[in-house]
Amino acid sequence: MTQPPLLEVRRLVKHFVRKQGVWQPSTVVKAVDEVSFTVEAGEMFGLVGESGSGKSTTGRCILRLIEPTSGDVLFRGENILTFSRPRMRQARRDMQIVFQDPYSSLNPRMRAGDIVEEPLIIHRLGAKTERRERVAELFELVGLDPSHVTRYPHEFSGGQRQRIGIARALALHPAFIVADEPVSALDVSIQAQVVRLMLDLKERLKLTYLFIAHDLRLVEHICTRVAVMYLGRVVEMGATREIFRGPRHPYTRALLSAVPVLDPDAPRQRVPVDTTSFDPAAPLRQVDAAHWAAV
């Protein structure tokens, strides 16, 4: 393999400083703490964890929507953290984000077509008629009716709104998409439709995804590899199959055992999260061919 990975995250750190009050010293929250992983082109890489694990912050640091404290983010071999503002703007054409909440992430005063067209205007791509054509094409691509471009977000259902968000993310022909809990706000039948669309687009447009999620059942089905985050650190990483069949880290075991199973007679062996059973500072080490754990 001569090709470098599409994305390489090296020892990414994001500290938030919290001021407690006038007389108390401010404390540092290590939201992302020395996180490293690589995403190969064409892959759907899952980043899972519970709230406060740092998974969303990691996703945002990779796109520099939040500036990381330290570390490297290599995209096609180049460290984008060293990019100037104009250079970064160019790079963003290749790296887009789909947000969780299709209710709050779309501007309610803008028409759906304008929301999808906006990135084209910002990047000065095409004349008005060409842009309109591209918007109609994008609407069709994500399964929306192109005649609905003049409608406002509130006139669409949750699933349709998420399709608008996806169309907007695809407007600039990106290679890489950070999908930050893209279906967690949707009903389960709608979730399946949107996930199917994302998988379909991945094949047709040769996309690579960083799929951030808390629903392990979903991740098990769609991601080739997965990293499990806990308190800002990756505690386990590797091929999805390996991790779901033989989790090595106590936190991953607890997380997997907490997932409700559809069978009422399935044996339930709940493993509680026992923070004394592992060293939170332990580094990742290889435990199998395609499997790393901080044990």
């Binding site: 709230s51 389960v188 039948s189 399946a192 808390h214 629903d215 098990e220 997932v259 559809l262 009422p264």
Partner: protein
């Protein structure tokens, strides 16, 4: 056969619009025995929460109950005077909501909120109610309950807040608890703890539980029987094993097919494109 604790018959809730009337709950009938758990499952807008509100006569306007009967402990709640209804709400039937942060009063100590549930129904004096608040926080496994009663909701984690909500719901020894998506806002490890707690309390207090959820996994873990709602109506009802293993209604089947399963064979993968 003894009569059930809750007997909902032909319950109908409509919303009056300026031009037309919409039906949110459409001729819903089900029974719930003491100590039993019925899962009411459906997607958003299916009418499952509105059914719960109607049982408590809390349908927000312009919605109104257009028909049916809600027999609880032998009395029809829909014909009771409001004064008597207030003695039932929060006391004999209590409610646990999805989002504990919005359901709890942010400027009131949690101990006082639990105590209020008792004093408002005249079931205890202030001092008795305070002592009982500590007992209840103990019962829902909040460590160091004696100190925690002085906390405000924002000082507690999401899981702890949901435990406080459960403590409030249990304060007056209800016979029926209606839990509307009680774990949807919680992380999966916290959800597991809260479900374990509900299971334990259900046995200890012989509670009947009407569990409203969109998650079939939660249903499988908790329910004895399941009623599936779609567009305001119950389309299928039966014992949990029967519904999960051999659903009959097309809607139930499609809903179950959309749930990703742990470690399943690819044949059951909901994300494999099928011709629709």
């Amino acid at each position: 056969m003894t009569s059930p604790l809750l007997d909902v018959q032909h319950l109908t809730v409509v919303f009056d619009g300026s031009r037309s009337t919409g039906t949110a709950v459409d001729d819903v009938t089900f029974q719930l025995a003491a100590g039993e758990t019925l899962g009411l499952v459906g997607e958003s807008g299916s009418g499952k929460s509105m059914t719960a509100f109607a049982i408590l006569r809390l349908v927000p306007p312009p919605g109104r109950i257009a028909g049916g009967r809600v027999l609880f402990e032998g009395r029809d709640l829909l014909t009771l005077p409001e004064r008597e209804m207030r003695q039932i709400r929060g006391a004999r039937i209590s409610l646990i909501f999805q989002e504990p942060m919005t359901a709890l009063n942010p400027v009131m100590r949690v101990g006082d909120q639990i105590a209020e549930a008792l004093t408002v129904h005249g079931l205890a004096t202030r001092d008795e109610a305070r002592a009982r608040a500590v007992e209840l926080l103990d019962a829902v496994h909040i460590p160091d309950a004696r100190r925690r009663i002085r906390d405000y909701p924002h000082q507690l984690s999401g899981g702890m807040r949901q435990r406080v909500m459960i403590a409030i719901a249990l304060a007056c020894h209800p016979a029926l608890v209606i839990a509307d998506e009680p774990t949807t806002a919680l992380d999966v490890t916290i959800q597991a703890q809260v479900l374990d707690l509900l299971r334990e309390l259900r046995v200890r207090y012989n509670l009947a539980l009407l569990l409203i959820t969109h998650d079939f996994g939660v249903i499988a873990e908790m329910a004895d029987r399941v009623a599936v709602m779609y567009r305001g109506a119950i389309v299928e009802e039966g014992p949990v094993r029967q519904i999960l293993r051999s659903p009959v209604h097309e809607y139930t089947r499609s809903l179950l097919a959309a749930v990703p399963r742990r470690g399943s064979d690819p044949g059951l993968d909901p994300y494999v494109s099928r011709t629709e």
